[in-house]
Amino acid sequence: MKNISLKSVYFQYKKNPVIKDVSLDLKGNTCTALIGANGSGKTTLGKLIMGILKPESGHIFYDDMTIASKSLSELGARVGYLFQNPSQQIFAVTVRDDLTFASRMNGLKEELIEEKLNKVVSLFHLKKILDSKCHVLSQGEKQRVALASIFIRDPEYLILDEPTTGLDSVRKEALGQVIKDIKEEGIGILIISHDKKFVHNYADEVIEMEAI
């Protein structure tokens, strides 16, 4: 079970403080939700935890190790991060290429790649679009591909920024079920969302952020 903790984290964009003295403990096997108005710093906090942004002061620990000493790829290999905009996450030509990209680059065996691929394809209903070109997908399809690209790597912790954007009610429910299942496996999840109904249905704790 992997935990994430933030100690007095401070961050500003061009001298405008966005995150001020935030301390937080995110436990494994717990689904925590961050809600709040636009500009309250939810996405910024997610990016700070992932090491995409660096805090001005304070410390962020992943499993008792400071993330400042970790590279993006080291952290990315362990923590799955869903971007707010799925187009930012998908970069290969076809859905199949995108889902198997990291496994191939990291030299996984073909049979194992295929097994993992089949698992996420069925989980996120991607069979029909598996060989489609990524740039022709709808927003909802892109969101499912982006989610699958994270789950295929068996992450130890998950940060999902607006995971329900573009998903219909059936697929939202399916995503909720996936969240429940992986939580039972001891994986912690941080959901950043405006979807209060989804958050209240699936999150164990809800943290509301306020704009500074």
Binding site: S71, L72, S73, F91, V93
Partner: protein, 238 residues
């Protein structure tokens, strides 16, 4: 100097860029680079950030200089393997000239970036360029940073999937970049398509005669800059 007419900036950039292509002497290219830096500084161009970005591509640039040098066997050998001259003095000079040409064009580009899109469009229209073309040129300048950001985002997305790009071998890195290049280009074209749809929906080209409240006026400083730049260009060309 900060309120120079955009037409003056366009003229200066055209002269510097033309000279960078025409000149073959390394010493003159270095001199032109110096002039470009001074002008960019006087016109408040963000040349330091451009130089920092160039610094990140240092290995690529050194590679280009060496390749230019290898394929040019004229002159005295400086570094060689047996009888084969790897780097000659003439080859090295040509490689460095190529490097300075790139730097001059990049630095002169920062002069244009000190004007807003509206100013640039206004300036091009005053130069009798049709509005549609002027708009596209200004949009193209705006599009470059978007394209660069797209590339940066893709690299972050790849790293977040646990791929250690820095530890890849050169061959693997080349494969990776060629792999992601086409989706980035497709993404950029897609953005351009959406942008053109968006501007059409806001009434772009709905009326033939466009007017603008924006006024461009040549001042004495503009005449002085254009005169000095023209004289300098003619002197170098002759």
């Amino acid at each position: 100097m900060k309120h120079v007419d955009p037409r003056t900036k366009i003229a200066v950039v055209m002269m510097i860029s033309t000279l960078a292509i025409v000149i073959n002497q390394l010493s003159m290219l270095v001199f032109l680079f110096g002039i470009g830096l001074i002008l960019a500084k006087l016109l408040d161009g963000h040349f330091l950030s451009v130089l920092k970005k160039v610094q990140k591509m240092l290995y690529l640039l050194i590679g280009i200089v060496i390749l230019q040098s290898i394929f040019n066997q004229e002159g005295t050998s400086l570094i060689g393997v047996g009888s084969f001259a790897l780097i000659t003095d003439v080859g090295l000079t040509k490689g460095l000239s190529y490097l300075f040409r790139i730097l001059i064009i990049l630095i002169s580009g920062t002069i244009l970036s000190t004007s807003s899109e509206i100013e640039l469009i206004g300036a091009l229209i005053k130069c009798k360029i049709p509005y549609d073309f002027a708009f596209m040129v200004a949009l193209g300048i705006r599009f470059m940073p978007i394209f660069m950001n797209e590339f940066k985002d893709t690299i972050i997305a790849i790293e977040l999937r646990g791929v250690q790009i820095k530890q890849l071998k050169l061959k693997e890195k080349i494969e990776l970049y060629s792999y992601i290049l086409s989706p980035i280009v497709i993404g950029a074209l897609d953005k351009a398509k959406k942008l053109s749809l968006s501007i059409e929906m806001r009434g772009f080209r709905a009326h033939h005669n466009r007017t603008s409240h924006f006024q461009l006026k040549f001042r004495s400083i503009d005449y002085i800059i254009i005169m000095l730049s023209s004289l300098g260009t003619i002197w170098v060309l002759i």
